[in-house]
Symmetry: C2
Subunit: 451 residues, 2 copies
């Protein structure tokens, strides 16, 4: 049913939709007029399919709302048109903002996260459209432009449009195919605290001949880092592992029994990593990844970072830290614990700029949209999907699961080597096509299951 058209429409959407999306450098960390340009493209793509489109704003980049169908069963699809910065540029084999197809793979910033999913879902809707009334479906899109910087204004948009966003099931932005060919479906996403912390020494850089007497903040930031995490990867901030939802942990433990560590081991091996952090293995590695909060340094800089040499005592040293939270953990409480701990250890003068802050959200495996998605995956991929209690990554899914109360399932067109957030981000053509099928089937299943 319907699937005969998939390959043709998918192919058309890769060249007509995805290529255009990739071309606009919608890097939300940079901002600029490209963000509006990206939102306008998304609006016009939705309109051309017949969607009723509204553009909203919570004070940040535009959020595109689109709605089609008049059925009683409503599915909300969340995506984002913004992408991560492309650097380090020199490690890309082709221009990150030009879609290139090589050896069955589609390359470009955002093809996996998350423009490829926008294109695939539009293809699915185009195919399903003639049957939408017969399925008694209404499909809504919400496509934001700040996901990669922590969705700072999305909460406002959701609060302001609770009625419009009402739905009985939802599909989250992303997902990927594992090495063994199974689709990985995530039923939750971690929360996020992203902040930049700086320490200062002198009020300007000084000739490093004076280093014996002028304090260099690099030594202090190094000490601060060793106080944050031990050599086995355990976060040393008191209370960092507190507050985790018991029910989530219990359900999660059970779900992890069905999860294979093989993909992670293969990934580590491809990355040249001999062992996981702290030497953890098997289910303990899965637990750390899918059930526990984390603290990471995404960036570190001080003084001269150009080529060759410059001899200075730098005046500042800065770190960019991302903390990922799990269900039950409150971002303000955890951030408070981190700051209190650092201040108690001699870093009263730390300067902190919070870039984003939101909690985790998740859906229980028995919800109709999850069942619809699992069934669709078995058909589209020919094999039972892997269902994770929580993705390793973050996303503001709590706005939908916790605030709006919509059960959400995750799925997408990436694969295990998609290099999300990294140079040479790519997806496989076959996964794009199967991803289109999976969305079609999920919607059909959902229409069948719900009353």
């Amino acid at each position: 049913m319907f699937l005969g058209e998939v390959e043709r429409i998918a192919g058309k959407n890769i060249s007509d939709v995805l290529a255009k999306l990739v071309e606009i450098p919608t890097v939300s960390a940079w901002g600029g007029s490209e963000m509006v340009e990206g939102a306008n493209l998304v609006s016009s793509l939705l309109k051309s399919l017949g969607f009723r489109v509204e553009v909203k704003s919570g004070g940040g980049n535009p959020v595109v709302f689109g709605e089609i169908g008049d059925g009683s069963k409503t599915v909300l699809i969340y995506n984002h048109y913004d992408v991560q910065p492309p650097d380090p540029m020199e490690l890309w084999d082709s221009d990150p903002f030009e879609m290139v197809i090589r050896d069955g793979r589609i390359y470009g910033r955002g093809v996996a996260d998350n423009k490829g999913n926008i294109a695939a879902r539009l293809a699915a809707l185009e195919i399903l459209l003639p049957h939408i009334d017969e399925l008694d479906l209404k499909v809504k899109f919400i496509i934001e432009g700040e996901e990669e910087v922590g969705s700072p204004t999305l909460a406002r948009v959701v609060e302001d449009n609770r009625e419009w966003l009402r739905a009985s099931g939802g599909i989250w932005e992303t997902g990927y195919v594992k090495r063994d060919g199974r689709l990985s479906i995530s039923l939750g996403f971690k929360g996020m605290i992203y902040f930049e912390a700086s320490l200062r020494g002198a009020n300007r850089d000084v000739h490093s001949g004076y280093s014996p007497i002028i304090p260099n903040p690099v030594w202090r930031i190094a000490r601060m880092l060793t106080l944050l995490k031990d050599e086995n990867g355990n976060v040393l901030v008191p209370g960092f592992y507190d507050g985790i939802d018991r029910e989530f942990l219990e359900t999660g433990e059970i779900m992890l029994r069905e999860v294979d560590i093989g993909d992670l081991e293969a990934m580590a091996s491809a990355l040249g990593i001999k062992e996981f952090v702290g030497g953890v293995r098997g289910v303990e590695a899965l637990r750390r990844l899918y059930l526990m909060p984390s603290l990471n340094v995404s960036g570190l800089y001080s003084g001269y970072t150009g080529k060759g040499s410059k001899t200075i005592v730098p005046s500042t040293a800065s770190i960019k830290i991302d903390v990922r939270l799990v269900p039950g953990q409150k971002p303000d409480v955890i951030m408070g614990s981190i700051l209190e701990y650092l201040k108690s250890r001699g870093f009263q003068d730390i300067e902190v700029k919070i870039e984003s802050m939101y909690p985790s959200g998740y859906t229980k495996p028995g919800e109709p949209i999850v069942k619809a998605s699992i069934g669709a995956a078995l058909e589209a991929y020919g094999v039972k999907p892997e269902v994770l209690p929580m993705a390793a990554g973050s996303g503001p899914i709590y706005l939908f699961t916790n605030i709006l109360g919509i059960p959400m399932t995750g799925a997408g067109v990436g694969y295990y080597d998609s290099r999300v957030h990294a140079p040479n981000e790519n997806i496989r053509l076959e996964d794009f096509i199967r991803g289109v099928k999976h969305i079609i089937l999920t919607l059909i299943n959902f229409a069948a299951i719900t009353r």
Copy 2:
């Protein structure tokens, strides 16, 4: 004698010579055709005064040799036409590569270090020229273009031209006027080891959702830094303080009795620093600065250092370290100790790129060129100079003092707030004029003292 002309010639050289020198961005850390352009300008300036000029090379940037006079008393003057990188650009109040005069100060990259000294010394020679035979003097210039990157090819040039470089006294590139109006004369410069050290994790950046299991080299580099130096600024590498020349230390201790800590305290206060590293005060601070080796981090970088947020586990973390050595210490021995120590503490995989490496050199205070310089300072500045056993900074003076056996004295046109290596580098007009006088008088005194 001669000094009536100083103000006029100094003024002319500021506008005609220094302005032109500043205009060429001879940043040796960047390289490029500007280096040859800088050398050509220096050559033509020397030629226009009547110098016999030869351009030499040791495989790197051109080294300009110039000689004038035929007397039996030879003085060798060392300078460099290269400069430090100007960044952080945004902290400059005017273009670093355009000389600007504001409120009696001359601004631009290199005006203190070291283009201002080139211009001042050319002015001194222009004034002295009619009398050079009568003084029985021969003056030689050696002006290199790699001092700010550790003079990697100067040793070769010196070895290849030992005969040409023969002299009975020498004047080093730089010096400055203290807050109390005294000229500071340095009788030595520290040695230098500049290296970049990197640690690797995965072979590419990875989405930071995987941080619980994929090693991040930032944590290791932080730990490495805490093993290099304690909180009081003591270097923890075994043997780091070994091998220091006893005689230098003894003479140095005596000389420090005449050195006033006030300038350093005022500098720290202007920099917003409440206390020196480790809380040291008085002669202990002077000892650390002028008699002891040091280890500093000039730069530190890993992962995303742009604006906003990017969430990755960085694949590499790097530090740029400058080590400054004192007389008696062998660079290869100290570098060996650092690497052996790091390897013994779990950093066998450290990748090191050495940018420069040379020992310290110094001159004893009783040498004729030093006496000539001290007497000249009393006359030019109206007050006894401060004489330091060693500058806080480095320079390849050992090639002259140790290899060629030429006693060297240091003097120059900077002042205590010249912001050497930093934004808004500047000198005072009055110091330029007094610096010209000081060079003239040093040469006259030297001619009178020596036979």
